[in-house]
Structures are given as structure tokens and as C-alpha cells.
Symmetry: D2
Subunit: 339 residues, 4 copies
């Protein structure tokens, strides 16, 4: 069975695992107060060209999203996000469970929030019987595998500044986004245009862990207490620092993203050559073929994938995902079998 | 510097780490739906003699405490706990942040909640202008290193049943509790007397992870959704299953607890031989000497430890902790140096 | 200036105010434990033909909605409602602030949730990474002035039962709904088809107050504690009982609703005779004309009304509301002036 | 039966009720945006000598306490209060339900928080694994009927300023506090020393309603949205403004407080003359006799009162309350009967 189910079937990249093993019995101070975390944070700050950013390591994506929302928003303030956003559709109401309303905007197949969608929302919410929008949540790459370009990010950032909105990017797949040929955005651009964003580890070579970059200085204060309250302080916090230190040694983090993209692009092209249509042409590590329902049985015996959503009565959109560990033989093997 | 700071200075026990490495690149289904989690859960259910229990793996202790509270309580219901309880004093208001009041009971140096403390609380809370107590939180071992005996646990359980209270034991240190010579409680007893409890991994040989045993069937329903909402579903959930599978292979989990106890008892005895007094005589892996303040400087140059609280104007209670990795040479070395 | 702004420009109906005055200095037990509340609850239970219902008096509509949601839902459960629902668009995130996600369904100009909209939501939410829908919120009359017929209510109730969903009707405008010629639903039908609903006082002759009818016995337990926690226990709780007792003396409550409807229908017909179009033909006390923007200035000098939303570049939907105190001279006066 | 049960057995003072009647059918804009609210707020601002304060009318005491806490605190911040504080013991966990921990300080029979209790709490909470204390809650008068003097208030305010703590006074009984001969505090002093406080209407002549004075300008922003979210915006908000306008016309508010005090002092003196002991000598409208349990039956047949708490095996502390409507004949009648 070929495995294209998701980004986290494998554990850590061997280099990352080796780094963990190397310090496993060292005896290190807890709660992320250690030197590995400091070193990893320094590397990330440098790579972001954001010397005043606070870099925090958290355990998973949902947690990182909601901790940031809790750090920024007051109880009457709300989040603007795509209706397809991960926080809206895949996090079991975690943001609402911390008290915050999500104001959903309709999006097309590319899953992107557009700057022009902001003003009508802000206008409607001048009515004080409604929540006050204060936070815009986007994903880079999006749930649908697409990327915001530098121009798109800059335009969104300008619009957010105009309305006093905090711009946050969920970077669970930042590794594939910033290494995609379709994307001209650098890590420094992310720090320039976003008030906060995270660099996803779980989906790009770490066992677990996300590096949150708090560019905005206003939300940095008391952040440890909030992390602690929201279960985001790992007792052996150095486990996260060590992994990000390894990922940001040399080019590793970006190499892994690039590999996942290459595998996915090879798969996507092969699938198009087969004459299948796509939900959207993805420039990153996810591929969304539209499959006749009659083929699903056969696919089930051939590989692991995820059902995305029904397309029409006879077709289903499915998702293939490549990651740092995907082998070219598997891509080619699946394509050959599909023929 | 000798390191007696806490239970989590080291990563995973080598056997546990090896198990993780072995399946690191295997390609496993996510979110804890994998066979390692199933296998580990089965082993734990068997060890608990609780075939109908649901065993869930979570990431850390604060999270496990608060997820359980959220699973059990309705918004107007409250937790009874010792004023020294971890959820009250060390979790940054995590329980309250999910909406629940903690009703604190005064405890002595042994840190234990007594059955006779329950009835007056229940009586006072018949007044419907107050919250309704519904959950009793204890720790086995306690924050102060002591253990509930089987008789104490049974008596508390009886009292809880009488008042319809859910009895939960925080087992962050269950490994040292159940292997302490002072403790006649078995894992099966825990499952018999508690409605839920957890088996701590983080402080006893795992990188991270706690195994929550939901004995009560009423709270098992929909538990995954709650875990997801509260960031307790690890994408690579098999990482937790693999570790607990290793810890419950042979006697490993208990061996590690036993070792930590032996080291701590050796240290405690040595300290008493030095003529120092103790806050409480601990039968587990924590030691609480009362130290003249004039000695603290010297200690600071000698070893890592934690300041517990002031005893009086001239003395401070400190804490030494041993764990699975503590070496006998370190215990003896510290004792020699203290002389 | 003619006043058609909303349903609550006037205080209490004179009969209601007289009842309050009559017992003002009587010296009555607090917190709604008094005989006036008991008597009013009995009358309502009888009118509902629901002898096992618990009737509770709360202060306002938003509060009644959210207290009921909190009584029914567990933290991982969600509410299904129209995207135009009052709890979604006009309550400043009050439901989310108590932790609950709102799953919005698109609705037409009549603002009604349809039974066939439920199954696809339930299917999608079988995915345990999402919240679990457990509560359907409708309004009778809707935000748009329309009413659910008995057949519609029965069909929705059937669908809810099929999926284990709790059906709740916001009855802020129940007085006008059940007295509308377009509505064949009785109070007993409300109790038959809904698991809970409320009888709005604020918008139909009371100073303030809503009578919540908890038909479902499962949510009745501990309700006082939840009310207290959510500020819904008025110290002088008898104030609410006295008002509902007066409203349910004779036909008063329904007479007031009928009057508001008659005034609004007269106004609506007059407006149609003027050749204006309507957003929706409302059978109750709200009227929604589509007005050329050029006329708005003139209207502003003539009467109080509310801007509903833009229709297109040149037209705006506005809202006129009649209530128990609206005078026929005012309706005719406005119509004359509009000519 | 003589009625000394509590402060809210009667409705509104006749002058207040008359004011409500006078404008009942006037047709007034909703949600507290009316001129009555503006006028009442102006009067209060003037009386407080606090021209930049924002004055908001809310419905009840628990609500006012918790809305203010929600306005001030971030999720990781906590409230310091007396263990006997109303928010701790009588509000069904309302503060915790909004996510905030209460740090309780032990108090004596006078129920007062002392400045010297603050520093050790602040020191202990420098540990970032704990919540951050940010809000001190006191009551003027206290639950036990005592009052903070100007010197006490100033000292507490100084200590709060030193630690960046927000000082809030629950003024449910401010009317009796500031008119007590034992109290040298003026309304202007309240505004000078507190960052916010409220002037209780419910217990001093209003049907319901509290006037919250937000002296601190930082918490004034967006306050309406928070009120709306927390059910504190009354649709017919003018009802609250009209009542406070009446209460602050002439000396009415203070006259009512003074009367309640005089009745209570007469009762307290009479009781002492009978040879009964008191829990505390109260200078306001509550009286706390210590009664032999053998007398309780007789009392039950004679008057309404509240059981406060057991004193010892043979005695119970009870509470008598006088209010604006208490008659001297009732006081003397009860005293005569007690002889």
C-alpha cells in the first residue's frame, strides 16, 4: 500500500531524531528555559530578520492557533477566517471553547482570504451589538495547498493595518509554502507582513512542535503564563528546542519542504497526464484529484489517501499528501498502478 | 553540579527511546488511532483489571487534569482539592480557565485530603447560590511525596460515592507511589477506588505522555472530540502509544519508579543522619529537608534543587527529586559534600 | 416623529405596571422563590399542556438563549442556527463566550431553517475532529418576521429527534407569532415540538423578562445554579413572576401580540399600496420595505425606524416595528405622510 | 411576621416607581442610549467628582462584579479577594465561569482585606507557573456589615498602585456604607481610591440596577460590547437610567441608606441590651446576633431572618437586615417580642 495519507505518518527526520538522542540523558532544565530552546529561537529570529520577535515553542498546531488568539483578543473580539480555515473546520471548536467567535468569509477553490473581504465585515461590525473583529487568520500554505504571494500578503497586511487587525499566519505547512516555486515569500517577509505566525515542525520533520514567532511586541508579555494555562509548556521543553535547532541547522527545514513539494508535483503532473481533473492546481505538497466514484474501491486497495469532499453525484475530491519521507518510487509506483 | 532538581531533567529511558526509533519511519496512522496505542491501552487495561475502562494517551499532566475535569463537570459544578494541589497552585489557573471553581481544603504536611473534610463542604453547598461540588481531585503520590494507603483510598472512595462525587487521582508520580514500601495500593486498586486516574509517563521514563484511565463509563463518550478541542490529540499520536507500550513491557515502568524511590530514600536517610530535619518524611522520590538559610549559598554551588517555601525567618524548606536516571554515585557524592 | 423603531420603546403595559405597583411594598422572598413566580409558572404550564415542564423566569433574550445552550450542551457540542439568527448576529458573541460553536446554515428571505439542512451537517460532523451538533436554534417568529407553521415545526422536530438534537425556539416574539393569521401553532404545539422555548415578555408588554419553558426533563436539574452563575437570578425575582402573572391573566399576552400584528399588517398593506416592494411579506409585527436611498433623508425626518441592510447600490431594506402600544393614528399618519 | 430577611424584599422606593410610571409610555430609545441614562450618569459623575469616569448601568450585583473582572483581566490574570467575598461564596462560580481564578485571603470577623496581605501573594505569584494577580476585589460595606475607612481605603489603594493591581469595590451596599457614622468616606473618595466601583441600586431603593463607575480610562473602551455579551444590556435600558436619576434627585439615595442604618442600629442596640452577643458590631444595615440554638424555633415563628453560620455546637450566628422600607414599629415590635 502506497501511503499518501497525510504529512505526519513518519516521526522525526533522522537528523532530528539523532539530535534528540544525543542529549536525551544530559539533564536539562525544564519548561523550555534551556539553552537548546534559546539557540533555536536565536536562529529563527535571525532567519526572520526580526531581532525583537519572541519565539516560543509549542506542541501542536491547534494549540498554537488558539494560544495566539487568546494572547491577542479580549473577550468581545473576534477572528476573521476563511470558511475552510483549519480553526473553523478541523479543531473541534477549540477557538470558541476559549470564548472567541469566528467570522467566516467565503473563499474559492484556492482557499485564500482577500483584502477586499475585510471592509464590509468591519463596516457591519461597527454595530456594537456585534463582536469586534480584531484578528485575521490565514494559512500559509492554505488548507487547499495554495500559497499567498508576497504581493497578496502585503495587500492583506496593509488592509489589516488600516483597520487595526492583527494578522496571523498558520504555518503548519510553512516549509512547503516558502519552498514552492509559486511562492516568492521569504521568512523575513512573513515577519514583515504578519504580526505573528508559526513555523510548523510536526508536518516538516519534527516529532512534534511548532515555533511561534510573535513579531508584535504587545502580545509578548506574560506569554509563558498563558502557555502554561493552555497546556503548551512541555515539562521537557528542551525536546522542542533541540528539534528546531536541528531543523534550522544548515538548510534542513527547507530541504524537507522542497522534497515534499517535488514529490507532490511529480504526482500531480502524473495524475493530470492520466487525464484526471484537479480541485485546484496545488503548488505545494498536497494534491486534490477529482476521482470518479467508481474508482474509489480500486484506490482503497492501492494506497492510503483522504476523502476531501464530494464533487458531484458521481465524483469525489480526494487528497494525496507527500512529505519529507515520500519516496520517488512510491510516487511512480502509484502512478503506474493508476494507469 | 549534582542534579536533584526535578523528575524530568532527562528525556526517555533508553528502552523507550529505542522503541520510538524502531518505528520512526514506519508510516503510521495519526491521532492515536494506531495499533501501538491499542496495544498499550490493552496492556494497561489488563494491568488495571478494568476491562471496560477507556485508556487515553495525553501529552502532559496539567492537560490530563483539566481535560478530565471538563469531561466530567457541568459549568456549575466544582472541584474539591487540597489547597496545595497541583491544579490549584501550579497550573496557572488552567481549571478555572475552563470555567470551574476549585474548592480548596486545608491539608497538613502530608498533603492528603481526608474523607471527613467532604461532608461539611457538601452541606454548605446545598445552598443553590453556590457551585455544586462534583469532583474530588487527589494526587498519588501527593505534591509532598506522601502516598494514600489502600484503606485511605477506600475510605475516600466510599465518601465520594455517598455524595455522588467523582474521584480522580493525578498520577504524575504513580510510578513512585505504587512502588513505595509505604504504599499497599495496586494499579487494580486505583481502578477500583477511583473513577478515573492517570499513569504518569513524563516523570517516569517517557519523553512526554500520560495514560488516562477512564474507569467510569459515563465519561468515556465523545472523549476524542474533547481531547481534540483541548489540544490533547497529538498528530503523531502513536508516539505516545509506543512509549507506554515500552514502559509496560515487562516490569519497566515499575522498575523505574522503584529506582527513583531507592535513590531518594538513600538521600533522605543520609540527610537525616546529617541531623537535618524534614518537612515531612517522604516515602517516594521527593525529599524535603529544612535547611538553615545560611547554607543555601553553599548548596547553590553544589547541586540543583528547588526552593519549596520558607519555614521560618531562618530556615527554608527545599526539595530534592530523584528519578529513573539518578545515579547512586550522585546521591553519595552530594551527601559526602554536605558533610 | 412617528416611532416604529423596535418592540421595546415603551415600558410595561399599564395592567402589568399596575400589578407591579400593587405588590411593590409587600415584602416578598427573593430570587424567584415567591408565590407570584409559582402562580405564573403554573398558568404557563397549564397553557402549554406540559405538566412536567419547568418554567423559569429570566431577564432578557440573549441571556435566555445562552443559559439554555449552557444547560444543554457539553463543551464539544455545537448549535445549528440560521446565519441570520439573533444569537449569531446580534448577541456580541455571547454563545461563543460560553464556549460553544455556532454552525450556521444559509437561509432565504424567510429566515427559516429547513429539516433537510440537518442531515448533511450531521454527516459531515461524524468526523470526530469537529464539534458534535446537539442543539438546533430557531426563532418563532424569525428575525425576518416570518413564522414556522405547525407542519414545519413538526418536520423539524422529527428531524431533530432522528439525530438526537435538542430543538429550541427563541420566542422573543412568540406573542406576535402565535397570534398571526399565518400561524396555526398553539402554545401546546410549541411544548410538543420543542425541547425548550421561551415566551418573550420584553417585546410584548413586560418591562423586562422572558419565561423559559424547559419541556425536556433532563435539563431541568440544577438549573437554578446555572441561572445564578449566568446573572439570570434577579434578587427581586418576584418582579418577573408578577409581570407574567399579569400577562397570562385573561387573554392579555395574546391580545397585545394581536394588536401589534394588526398595526403592522395595516402598515405593510399601506406600504404595498404605495408601490413599495418588501424584502419579505411578513405576517407579524415587523415590516421590511425596500426603500430608494434617495428617500431615506425624508424618512429620517418623519419617523424612527431601523436600517436593515443594503439591497443594492440604490436601495436599502429598512424595518418598521409595531408593538402593543402602537396607535392606529400613527400608522395612518405615517402612511399619509409617505404619500 | 416581622421581616428582616434581606435588603430586597420590597420593590422600588415610591419616588423611584413614580419616575418609572411617568415615562412608561413615552417611547424611548433602547439599550441605555437614552437621555435618562445620560442624565443619571452625569449626576453620578458630578457626585463622584470624576469627570472622566464612564458610568454604566447594569442589572445586578453578580453581573456587575464579573463584567468588570472580564473588562480588566486577561485570561492568565487573577482576582485577590476575601475568602468571605460575595464573588467567592455566593455567586455560583460566576467569576471562574468567565475563566478567572480567585485568590482568597483569610479575613477576620470584620471581613476586610488588609494591605499587608498583598505583598506575600505578589511575591509567591512571581512564579510564572501561577496566575498573575491583577485585581483586588473588596466590598463597601463588607459582607459582614463593616466599612472601610478613608485611611484603610487609601492604604489599600497605595498598595494596589505599588503592584499594578486594579482596585474594585463592590458597592451593593454603598448606600449604607457611606452614610454610616463609622465611615468617613465620600463618593468622591471612592472614585479617588478605586479604579472602579459600583453604586448599588437593588439594595437601596431601585427595583433593580447597579451604577458602575469606571474611573480608570483604560477599561472604558468597548465596554458596551462586553456588556452586551454578558447580558448586561437591558433592551429597555432607560428603566435603569430613570431609577438612578430618581435616586440621585436630591438626597434620596443617601436618605434611604441612612434610614436602613438607623433601623439596624436601633435593632442592634436593642439586641445587645437583651444580653445577646454579636458576631461583629456592625455599623450598617446588617445585624449578626449569636443565638442559642434553643431559641431558633421561637424566632422562626416570629420573624424572617437568615441563618449565617454555626458558631459552636450550641449557638448559631443569624442575620437581620433592615432596608429603606423597614419601619420603626417593626424593630420595636421584634425587640419587645424577643424580651
Amino acid at each position: 500500500m502506497y501511503n499518501f495519507r497525510n504529512d505526519y505518518s513518519q516521526g522525526a527526520h533522522p537528523d532530528v531524531l539523532k539530535a534528540v538522542e544525543a542529549c536525551n540523558m544530559e539533564g536539562i532544565i525544564g519548561y523550555g528555559q534551556d539553552d537548546y530552546c534559546k539557540k533555536a529561537a536565536d536562529k529563527i529570529r535571525t532567519a526572520c530578520q526580526a531581532p525583537n520577535a519572541r519565539v516560543e515553542f509549542l506542541i501542536g498546531g491547534t494549540q498554537t492557533n488558539v494560544v495566539t488568539i487568546s494572547a491577542v483578543l479580549r473577550p468581545w473580539e473576534a477572528v476573521i477566517c476563511a470558511e475552510t480555515a483549519h480553526i473553523n473546520g478541523h479543531e473541534a471548536g477549540a477557538a470558541e471553547a476559549r470564548g472567541h467567535k469566528l467570522i467566516q468569509v467565503p473563499v474559492g477553490a484556492d482557499g485564500k482570504v482577500r483584502p477586499e473581504q475585510i471592509p464590509p465585515i468591519m463596516e457591519r461590525h461597527e454595530d456594537e451589538h456585534l463582536t469586534k473583529p480584531r484578528f485575521v487568520y490565514i494559512s500559509q500554505a492554505t488548507e487547499n495547498g495554495t500559497v499567498y504571494t508576497k504581493a497578496e500578503l502585503a495587500a492583506l497586511s496593509d488592509m489589516c493595518k488600516k483597520y487595526g487587525l492583527f494578522l496571523f499566519a498558520d504555518g503548519a505547512r510553512l516549509g512547503v509554502a516558502l519552498t514552492s516555486p509559486a511562492c516568492d515569500v521569504t521568512l523575513a517577509d512573513m515577519a514583515r507582513y504578519c504580526d505573528a505566525f508559526y513555523i510548523g515542525g510536526t508536518k516538516n520533520g519534527a516529532m512534534m512542535g511548532e515555533a511561534l514567532v510573535l513579531v508584535d511586541e504587545g502580545v509578548q508579555k506574560d506569554f509563558f503564563r498563558l502557555k502554561k494555562q493552555m497546556f503548551a509548556v512541555l515539562a521537557k521543553g528542551w525536546l522542542l528546542g533541540v528539534q528546531f535547532d536541528a531543523l534550522f541547522t544548515g538548510d534542513l527545514y527547507w530541504k524537507l519542504g522542497r522534497h515534499a513539494n517535488e514529490m507532490a508535483q511529480r504526482l500531480q503532473k502524473g495524475i493530470q497526464d492520466l487525464g484526471w481533473e484537479l480541485m485546484v492546481e496545488s503548488p505545494t505538497n498536497q494534491v486534490f484529484p477529482i476521482v470518479p466514484n467508481s474508482m474509489l474501491k480500486k484506490l482503497d486497495g492501492l494506497c492510503y489517501y483522504e476523502t476531501w469532499c464530494p464533487k458531484d453525484a458521481d465524483h469525489t475530491i480526494i487528497r494525496f499528501v507527500c512529505n519529507f519521507a515520500t519516496k520517488v518510487e512510491d510516487v511512480d509506483g502509484l502512478l503506474a498502478a493508476l494507469k
